[in-house]
C-alpha cells in the first residue's frame, strides 16, 4: 500500500459522505443552497476545523458563484481551495543550516503525541541526507522513555546521550550539546518528557531546558518543534498557544494522520499562529514521516480525491 493510499484510505469515510449527500442536492445552480452549505460545514466540523472556522469557510462558500453550475467536483474543488488558502503556501521542511554546528532541535508536546517516534523518524530523514545525527534522552521521567529512544538510536546507528532515569533533564541536554559540539555532529535532536500545557511546573522545566541548551551555543535551540497528535480536537489550539508562549515553538509536526482523523485543527492553527508545518507522521515506522503538503490536506478534507 502506498503512503498516499494509507493517508487517503482513512480519509475515505468523511469525504465519501460529502459526495454522497451532495449528489442529491446539486442541480447545476450557480450558488450553493443552504442545505448544501450545511452539509459542507458539517464535513468541516467532523474534520476538526472547529465550529468557528467551519462557519467562516461556509460564509465564503456562500458567496462563491459557480458560473458553469455547481457539480460535485466543482464544489469539492472550491472547498479545497478555500481550505488551502487558509493553510498558506507550501511545505516547510526542517533545513540544516546552523553555523556553527550542531543544529539543535528541541522536540516538545503533550503526553503520548508521538515525540520520541518522530525524533527517530527525523533522525532517519537527516541520515538519508548524509547529516551526522545525535540524540539526547531528555525524558528522564517516564518509565522506560530512555530505553525507548535508545532502541531507536541502536536501530539507526546514531550516538545517544543519556542520564539516569529520574535524573535532571537539563543536565543531560547540557552534556549532549557539549558532546555534539566536540564531535562535530550536524544535528542534535533532543527528546523531552510529555507535558500537558496547563502544568505550570513542567512548563517551567521546559524553559530551563531551553536556557541550558543555549549556554554553550547561544543560537540553540535552533528549532523548537511541537508535536501534535492528529486525533486531538480543539485542545490542540491551546497546546500551540501555550507552548508557543512558554517554550518558543518555531514549527509543528502532526502525527497519526494514518488514521481517520483529519487534523483540521491545522487550518485554524495556520490562521491564528502561522507557524510552519514541517512534516506529518503516517505510521509507527522510521519511514513514516512525510513533508506536509497543504494542498493534499485540503483536498483530503474536502474529499477532493479520486
Amino acid at each position: 500500500m502506498s503512503w498516499t493510499e494509507r493517508l487517503f484510505g482513512g480519509l475515505k469515510r468523511t469525504s465519501d459522505r460529502l459526495g454522497d449527500n451532495l449528489s442529491g442536492v446539486l442541480t447545476g445552480q450557480t450558488r450553493l443552497e443552504g442545505a448544501t452549505l450545511d452539509e459542507i460545514e458539517d464535513v468541516l466540523i467532523m474534520s476538526d476545523l472547529g465550529p468557528a472556522m467551519a462557519a467562516r469557510i461556509r460564509d465564503r462558500l456562500a458567496e462563491t458563484r459557480f458560473e458553469r453550475g455547481a457539480d460535485i467536483a466543482a464544489v469539492k474543488a472550491v472547498v479545497a481551495d478555500e481550505i488551502a488558502a487558509v493553510l498558506g503556501p507550501v511545505a516547510d521542511p526542517l533545513d540544516i543550516d546552523a553555523f556553527p554546528r550542531p543544529q539543535v532541535i528541541l522536540v516538545i508536546g503533550v503526553n503520548g503525541s508521538g515525540k520520541t517516534t518522530t525524533i527517530a523518524k527525523l533522525a532517519h530523514y537527516f541520515q538519508e541526507l548524509d547529516y551526522g545525527v545525535m540524540l539526547a534522552a531528555g525524558d528522564t521521567f517516564r518509565a522506560a522513555a530512555i530505553g525507548q529512544l535508545r532502541v531507536w538510536a541502536e536501530r539507526l546507528g546514531v550516538p545517544i546521550v543519556t542520564g539516569p532515569e529520574g535524573g535532571d533533564a537539563a543536565g543531560v541536554v547540557f552534556d549532549a550539546v557539549k558532546q555534539a559540539t566536540a564531535t562535530g555532529i550536524d544535528v542534535l535532536i533532543v527528546d523531552t518528557a510529555g507535558r500537558l500545557q496547563n502544568k505550570r511546573e513542567l512548563m517551567d522545566e521546559l524553559a530551563k531546558i531551553r536556557r541550558v541548551l543555549g549556554k554553550l551555543n547561544p543560537e540553540a535551540p535552533h528549532d523548537v518543534v511541537l508535536v501534535l497528535d492528529a486525533t486531538n480536537g480543539q485542545n490542540a489550539l491551546q497546546q500551540i498557544a501555550t507552548f508557543k508562549e512558554l517554550a518558543g515553538v518555531t514549527g509543528l509536526i502532526m502525527t497519526k494522520l494514518d488514521g481517520t482523523a483529519r487534523g483540521g485543527v491545522l487550518v485554524a492553527a495556520s490562521e491564528q499562529y502561522g507557524l510552519p508545518i514541517h512534516a506529518i507522521g503516517i505510521g509507527e515506522g522510521l519511514e513514516d514521516l512525510r513533508p506536509f503538503d497543504p494542498r493534499q490536506l485540503a483536498d483530503a478534507i474536502a474529499g477532493n480525491v479520486e
Partner: protein, 475 residues
C-alpha cells in the same frame, strides 16, 4: 479561549424578559448556542445532533422558575441532560469470577493504556487487596514491555517476565498459565496501541480476546480526542466486546467532549478518569463534573455544595454584598484563603470554579501550597487597611515593608498581588455568568435555599425534579 455556555446564553436571552413557559422559538435559539458549545468541547457532531434534538424536546414547554432566568433554565436542562447521558451503571470492575479475572486494555497509540494498566493494578492491590499480575503484549513499540515492568516495580506489582520475540497471543497464554499456577486474582493485559483502520492489528486484538476471554475489556481514550473519537469507538466496539471506557489526561484543560461521544457510541460506562502521570492519579468517573466542564462551567455544583457546608454566614453575606458591586479586594482574598483552608485546601478547590483557570495557573506558578496560605495571610496581615482595600497603591516601598513585616520576600508579595488580580478577574467572570445573584443568595442563606445558582446547576434544594424522559439518554 471559549465562552462558557452560560455566557453565550446570557446574550441570547438578554432580550427575553417574560416568564412562563419556554417557547419553541426560545429553545431553538438557545440550542444553536448549545450546539456550538458542544462542538467546541469536541463532542462528535452526530452525537451533538441527537443530543440537541432530545434536549429541545424536553425543554419546550418547561416553566421558567421565578428564581432563574430563561437562560439559566436552559443551561440546567442541558446540564442535567449531559449528566444523564454521561452517567452510568456501576463503575466497579467486574472481577468477581473464578480467578484469575482477566482485564484487557485496548486503544489507539499513545492513549495511555500502559500507564492506566499500572494505575488499575495499584488500585486493585491497595484498595481491594488483590494479587495482580500485569503482562504487556506490546511487541511493536520499542521498550514497551520494559515500560510496564518498570511501572510494576514502582508499585510492587508482578509483571510477566519478558520473553524476547514471543507474539501477543502466546504472551497472553503464558500470562494466564502463570496466573493460574501462582494463584493471582487478576491478570491485566496491556496491549499495543492500534489504529481502528489497521485490520491486521485489529485481528490480532480479536485473537487475544478469544483466548483470554476477559471479563473486562476497557477502551482507553484520550480526553483531548476530537471528532474522530466516534470512528474509534465504533470500530473498537464492533470488533471486541467492550465493557467500559477509561478517559485519560483529564488533568489537562480540554473540555473533554470525547466522554459524551464515547458514551453515545459504545453505550458502555466510563469507569475511570486518568488525572495525571503518577500511578495514583486514577479516579472514578464523575458525570456531573464532566458535564460542567463540557459546558465550560467548571465544577460549580460541587463547589456550591462544599461552600454551603463550610462558609460562615456573616462573612458570606459581607462578601456577597461586595461582589454584587463587582469589588474584590485583599480583605476578600484573605477571607477566601481562610475558607479555602476550611474547605479542604487548594487541591479541593482546583478546577471547581468557572473562570478560575487563570487564578489556578497563577497559584501553581507561584508554587502555592497549603503552607503558602499561612504566608499569604501573614502578608495581608502586614498591610494597612488602606492597602487591603485598594491594592493598586502598593508600590515598591510598601512591598518591602510588607515583606519585612510578614517575614517573606518582595517576590512573594508580588505573587500575592498577581494572584489577587487574577482572582478579581475570575470573580468578574462569575458575575458575568449571571450566577452572581444565585451565588449571593446561596452564600447569604447558607445551605438552606440555594435559589438561583443551585437551581441553575441542579445542585440544590427548592428545585423541582426534571421531567421524565431524561432516561432516554441512557443507551
Amino acid at each position: 479561549m471559549f465562552d462558557s455556555l452560560s455566557d453565550r446564553l446570557g446574550t441570547v436571552f438578554d432580550r427575553l424578559r417574560g416568564r412562563g413557559a419556554l417557547t419553541e422559538a426560545d429553545v431553538r435559539g438557545a440550542m444553536r448556542e448549545v450546539r456550538i458549545a458542544l462542538l467546541e468541547a469536541d463532542v462528535a457532531l452526530p452525537v451533538v445532533r441527537s443530543f440537541v434534538e432530545q434536549v429541545t424536546e424536553l425543554a419546550v414547554g418547561q416553566d421558567v422558575l421565578r428564581s432563574v432566568t430563561p437562560g439559566q433554565m436552559v443551561v440546567k436542562i442541558v446540564h442535567d441532560g449531559l449528566v444523564e447521558m454521561l452517567g452510568s451503571q456501576s463503575s466497579e470492575l467486574d472481577i468477581d469470577v473464578t480467578p484469575p479475572a482477566v482485564v484487557m486494555m485496548v486503544g489507539l497509540q499513545g492513549s495511555g493504556k500502559t500507564t492506566t494498566t499500572a494505575k488499575i493494578a495499584k488500585r486493585l492491590k491497595d484498595k481491594q487487596g488483590k494479587r495482580v499480575l500485569m503482562a504487556s503484549l506490546d511487541v511493536n513499540r520499542p521498550a514497551a514491555q520494559e515500560q510496564l515492568a518498570t511501572l510494576g516495580a514502582q508499585i510492587d506489582v508482578a509483571t510477566l517476565p519478558i520473553v524476547a520475540g514471543q507474539m501477543p497471543v502466546d504472551i497472553a497464554k503464558r500470562a494466564l498459565q502463570s496466573a493460574k499456577l501462582q494463584a493471582f486474582d487478576v491478570v491485566l493485559l496491556d496491549t499495543a496501541g492500534r489504529l481502528h483502520v489497521d485490520q491486521q492489528l485489529m485481528d490480532e486484538m480479536q485473537a487475544v480476546a478469544r483466548i483470554a476471554t476477559p471479563t473486562e475489556m476497557l477502551l482507553v481514550v484520550d480526553s483531548l480526542a476530537g471528532q474522530d473519537a466516534v470512528q474509534v469507538a465504533q470500530n473498537f466496539s464492533e470488533q471486541v466486546a467492550l465493557t467500559g471506557v477509561v478517559l485519560t489526561r483529564m488533568d489537562g484543560d480540554a473540555r473533554g467532549g470525547a466522554a459524551l461521544s464515547m458514551r453515545a457510541v459504545t453505550g458502555k460506562p466510563i469507569k475511570f478518569a486518568g488525572v495525571g502521570e503518577k500511578l495514583d492519579a486514577l479516579e472514578i468517573f464523575d458525570p456531573s463534573r464532566v458535564a460542567g466542564r463540557i459546558l465550560g462551567m467548571g465544577d460549580v455544583v460541587s463547589l456550591v455544595e462544599r461552600a454551603a457546608e463550610t462558609i460562615n454566614q456573616e462573612d458570606a453575606e459581607a462578601m456577597a454584598a461586595k461582589m454584587a458591586k463587582g469589588q474584590f479586594d485583599l480583605n476578600d482574598l484573605r477571607m477566601q484563603l481562610k475558607q479555602m483552608a476550611q474547605m479542604g485546601g487548594l487541591g479541593a478547590l482546583a478546577g471547581m470554579i468557572p473562570g478560575m483557570k487563570k487564578a489556578q495557573a497563577a497559584m501553581a506558578q507561584g508554587g502555592v501550597d497549603d503552607k503558602m496560605l499561612v504566608h499569604m495571610d501573614a502578608m495581608i496581615g502586614s498591610m494597612t487597611p488602606k492597602e487591603r482595600a485598594a491594592p493598586q497603591i502598593i508600590n515598591a516601598k510598601r512591598k518591602i515593608r510588607i515583606a519585612k513585616g510578614s517575614g517573606t520576600t518582595v517576590q512573594s508579595v508580588n505573587r500575592l498581588l498577581k494572584m489577587h488580580k487574577d482572582m478579581a478577574t475570575a470573580m468578574k467572570k462569575i458575575r458575568k455568568m449571571g450566577g452572581l445573584k444565585g451565588l449571593a443568595g446561596m452564600l447569604g442563606k447558607g445551605g438552606g435555599g440555594m435559589g438561583g445558582l443551585g437551581g441553575l446547576l441542579g445542585g440544590g434544594g427548592g428545585m423541582p425534579q426534571l421531567p421524565g424522559g431524561m432516561d432516554k439518554f441512557k443507551k
